[in-house]
Each structure stands twice: as structure tokens, then as C-alpha cells.
């Protein structure tokens, strides 16, 4: 198995773990944690392809990953602000209880 394939498998596994976390946990913040794991797995994919692909001096993969890190940080900030706002109105972060459009 080539080195690139091992990195891609690790990234795929991390993505699946993050997806499982986002889909099965009750707490809204843990869903966001799952989403962050998925974004990180995609970053690993990008850097691995940059390293082992042709023309690494074009820096495409590295740039993509750096911008992805910046965007993920912004998204985490807004998402957590939303969770705090929801907590303030519903007094819970349990997603199974936030199941009505009202409120």
C-alpha cells in the first residue's frame, strides 16, 4: 500500500468517526465537534495529495488547506454563537428536545 493510500485511509476513517459523532450525539456542541473532525479529515486529504501528487511547487493543496483552516475557524465561531443563542431561549442543548419549530 502506497503512503498516499495510508494517509487517505486515515482521513476517511477520521471523516467517518466525525460523521458518526455528528449524527448520533445529543448535545449540539458535540455535533459541532463532529463537523470539525470532518473538516480536519478533508484537510489531511488535501495535504496528502499535495505532497504525493505532481507539481507540489504549485502549492495548490497547501493553499486550499490553509484557507480551509481559516474558514473552519470562522464557522466554528458562528456555530458556537448559535448554540449559545439557542441555549438562551430553549434552556437546553439537547437536540432531541429542540424538535419543534416554535420558540
Amino acid at each position: 500500500m502506497t503512503p498516499l493510500a495510508s494517509y487517505l485511509l486515515v482521513a476517511a476513517l477520521l471523516f467517518a468517526i466525525g460523521l458518526a459523532g455528528a449524527l448520533t450525539r445529543r448535545n449540539a456542541i458535540l455535533v459541532l465537534i463532529g463537523i470539525e473532525l470532518m473538516l480536519n479529515a478533508a484537510n489531511l486529504n488535501l495535504i496528502a495529495f499535495w505532497r504525493y501528487g505532481p507539481h507540489p511547487e504549485a502549492l495548490t493543496g497547501m493553499m486550499f488547506a490553509i484557507f480551509s483552516i481559516a474558514v473552519a475557524a470562522a464557522e466554528a465561531a458562528v456555530g458556537l454563537g448559535l448554540v449559545i443563542a439557542i441555549y438562551r431561549s430553549a434552556h437546553t442543548t439537547d437536540l432531541d428536545q429542540i424538535n419543534r419549530m416554535k420558540g
Binding site: 500500500m1 502506497t2 503512503p3 498516499l4 493510500a5 495510508s6 487517505l8 485511509l9 486515515v10 476517511a12 476513517l13 477520521l14 471523516f15 467517518a16 468517526i17 466525525g18 460523521l19 458518526a20 459523532g21 449524527l23 448520533t24 450525539r25 445529543r26 448535545n27 456542541i29 458535540l30 459541532l32 465537534i33 470539525e36 473532525l37 480536519n40 484537510n43 489531511l44 495535504i47 499535495w50 505532497r51 504525493y52 501528487g53 511547487e57 502549492l59 497547501m62 493553499m63 488547506a65 490553509i66 484557507f67 483552516i69 481559516a70 474558514v71 475557524a73 470562522a74 464557522e75 465561531a77 458562528v78 458556537l80 449559545i84 443563542a85 441555549y87 442543548t93 439537547d94 432531541d96
Partner: protein
């Protein structure tokens, strides 16, 4: 591929598993930081030093702290009374397993067709800087705008409303 890949991969996956399986939310956030650190080290084994250090600076130094603050502000550190997994957990697990199966199959099928350059890319921070203000200046400016909008948005969304608060 360096010998450090296997322990680092195990560390990252263990951190990821901890982040989604642990009962205490703060422990999940700390396991997430371990996963981030493991990923940064994996970036270093891939000769992407700038991305690795930026990962630690942004994710461990900022996103992990954000998550921890959000957990503390929403009383997430108390153990919930009705279990930590949603009542539809089995379907979620099946979907995640399915996604991993598809991705794993795609990778293993195309192992021989994947590129495999072994030469270490001779990239300096100078080149990254040139690329950022040369070829990628438009994405740079857009990301700057996005970060400003996200900062203002996060503050407004989480702001305490003085009047009309229940």
C-alpha cells in the same frame, strides 16, 4: 513514509474516537484537542510545516478554547439524564459506516493509479507568501472579509439582549 506515521495515526484516531464517544463533554473537547495535535504532527510528516503550525495555532489555540467556553457557558459539563446518544443512533452509525465503506473501497481500488512522488517538495515560507499575495490574492481578501463578517456575526448572535430577554 516515515516510521512516525503509525503511532501518529493511532493517536489521531484515538482522539477522534474519544471526542465522539466520551460521556463528559469537556473530556470530548480535550480529546478533540489531542486529535488536532495528532493531525498537526501528521502534517509535519507530510513536509507541510506551515500548515502544521497553523493547525496548532488556529485549532488547538483557538477553536478548542472556543468549544470549551461554549460547553461551560451552556452547562454542558453536567451529565445528561437521558443518555448521551440520540434515539436514532443506530441509523447514524450505519450511515457513517456506509460512508467509510465507500471511501475505503475507492481508495483501495485505485491504489495503483494514485500518484506517488517521493521527492520532498522544497517549499519555503517565502514561496507561500508569494503565492498568497500573488496567485491567491483574491481568496485571501475574501477570507479576510469572511472572517470579519464571522466575528461580527458571532458577537451579534451571542449577544445578551438587554431588553426583551426572558
Amino acid at each position: 513514509m516515515s516510521i512516525a506515521f503509525y503511532p501518529l495515526a493511532v493517536l489521531t484516531l484515538a482522539g477522534g474516537l474519544g471526542a465522539v464517544l466520551l460521556k463528559n463533554t469537556v473530556h470530548c473537547a480535550l480529546a478533540l484537542s489531542v486529535a488536532f495535535a495528532g493531525l498537526a504532527l501528521l502534517f509535519l510528516t507530510l513536509d507541510a510545516q506551515f500548515a502544521g503550525f497553523a493547525q496548532i495555532l488556529v485549532y488547538v489555540g483557538a477553536v478548542a478554547i472556543l468549544v470549551v467556553f461554549a460547553i461551560l457557558l451552556t452547562k454542558g459539563s453536567e451529565t445528561p439524564e437521558s443518555g448521551i446518544f440520540s434515539h436514532t443512533w443506530f441509523v447514524g452509525l450505519i450511515i457513517a459506516a456506509g460512508v467509510f465503506a465507500v471511501l475505503g473501497w475507492a481508495v483501495l481500488q485505485s491504489v495503483n493509479a494514485l500518484p506517488n512522488e517521493s521527492a520532498v517538495p522544497a517549499i519555503t515560507v517565502h514561496d507561500i507568501g508569494n503565492a498568497l499575495v500573488g496567485r491567491y490574492v483574491l481568496p485571501l481578501e475574501i477570507v479576510a472579509l469572511l472572517l470579519t463578517a464571522a466575528t461580527i456575526g458571532a458577537v451579534i448572535v451571542a449577544l445578551h439582549e438587554k431588553e426583551g430577554a426572558k
